[in-house]
Symmetry: C2
Subunit: 344 residues, 2 copies
Amino acid sequence: MRTAAFDELMEAPIVGAPLSGGPSTPELAAAVSEAGGFGFIAAGYKTADDVRDEVEDVRGRTLRPFGVNLFVPTRAAADDAALAAYRESLAGEAERYGVEPGRPHWNDDEWERKLALVERERPSVVSFTFGCPDASVVARLRDVGIGVWCTVTRPTEAKLAAAAGADAIVVQGAEAGGHQASFDDTDAAPIGLLALLQLVRRVTELPLVAAGGIANGRGVAGAIAAGAFAAQIGTGLMLTPEAGTSSAHREALAGDAPTALTRAFTGRRARGIVNRFMLEHDAAAPRGYPYVHHVTSPIRAAARAVGDGGGINLWAGQAYELAEALPAAILVARWADETRRARP
Amino acid sequence: MRTAAFDELMEAPIVGAPLSGGPSTPELAAAVSEAGGFGFIAAGYKTADDVRDEVEDVRGRTLRPFGVNLFVPTRAAADDAALAAYRESLAGEAERYGVEPGRPHWNDDEWERKLALVERERPSVVSFTFGCPDASVVARLRDVGIGVWCTVTRPTEAKLAAAAGADAIVVQGAEAGGHQASFDDTDAAPIGLLALLQLVRRVTELPLVAAGGIANGRGVAGAIAAGAFAAQIGTGLMLTPEAGTSSAHREALAGDAPTALTRAFTGRRARGIVNRFMLEHDAAAPRGYPYVHHVTSPIRAAARAVGDGGGINLWAGQAYELAEALPAAILVARWADETRRARP
């Protein structure tokens, strides 16, 4: 079965980024697709059953194509003593919010069940974060007509994705909010989007989706002129009414504090607005995803419940100050129009 | 006297970045301008007399407009004990190359003499790095027909530059090689170019020159579609025969090692290719420009003289792998053509 051509997926070159941990909702994915963009369901952290419900929900809202994003399970060596010490160092946070820190443990985010689910449900595209599955998995999905996109942060990762048979490469620049989607979690300096698009283009002719720090039509136009076929916008959609962004997170996105990369919340580098938790724990946070994610999860949930932006991961890309609290349909239409006008 | 309009300065939207410390030469500036771009003399670290000679040299090679870049003297508090300790920690480096580390001291890079020089010589543009001079200095230059460009790394700096009366803003992204041109040397996460262009555009309507990680025509086209009127290319010109890039530096630029920001060489954050000196001294390097620059200067000069790339500052932007060893005229013409073709 053939996978869809890109002009069948979207009328405007705008992809709604998958935003795991709350912001992505079926309403948001459907609104982006209905507006002529390409919406995503974020499967990360959810059960396969919940993802199935979301797929059904989106299909009840739109007949347009959409995608599902999966986290590739990674099994990096983690230092048990460092994880235990970090958990210990969070005792004050736990006490502050009246919870216990979580137990550091590994899981695969229901990888096989989610793969089976998408194979059955056949969204138009499945994109991957934290790696690219091997060629046999890519072939399984493509065989049933699913386009496979792999997210990369370096040219070497793009080469691996191309070799695995991906249909397109999501090129994630250093500017991006949330996790750096690197295959391994290293300390290598993340590369800015405009440069990264050129470096990736040297190693593959695959279509590129540009991600990171794009939140208006001029940004989309810039990415396309630089060689991408579409831009993936995440933070720019986080203030829409369709997004599940928490109220404390919305408040922070309306401010102007700087962003930084940190492992304090999940054990993997991710970009968020600098807040109390990040300042107090960044230096002590060990590498170790998803172990650290599970340790901080109860603390973050409790902080979120009381609306305390100082205790939660305020993921945001470097252009977050451009985000606007307008319906996704209005934003996508405006960005599409700005993009057209920026390309004389 | 009016300052020149931008289409009088250049036919192609390509600025040859000022590259202090060796790579910029009168030959390179003239070649870029002759090819229809806009070349720069890098006055930083040089005496005013040497800069005058370079201006004359460029004028002997081309009738086209060109610019001169000046470092704005900054007087950040430096910790004497930390500087002394860092100097001490470089004893092994000094011994390795048979020199003494330099004495940590401050100077203003002949600021007043250079200002007087450009006022007299009247290049078409004077651009500034590490700050924007106050409104009276900007007015002095503009009064004699010199266009004033200030380099910024954050929207707040762009506001200051606009308030001082600058004609244009050079927007330097995190991707850039060499020093981050920030007004103050902080630890704030540097912002990727595509996002920064949008954030700066929110605070000023001045023309923007995009800098950082651009080294081909697709990059130029991306920056222009994103709202810049031209792109400033530095590293992409460092392998040209006209550049004064050292042989060890050329060798490193032909490789594929990662880049990183470091204070190890000058006491101010700058991006270079990761090498032995950076790995061994980055962690210990204090903030303190130009003090640290003077401490490491004899070591770097000696390492350069023996062609040892492990002991010198290998400034390079994140797209350095795109740099090609071709004459500047050929590169500028090709980039101009690629830029036109990327903008249908």
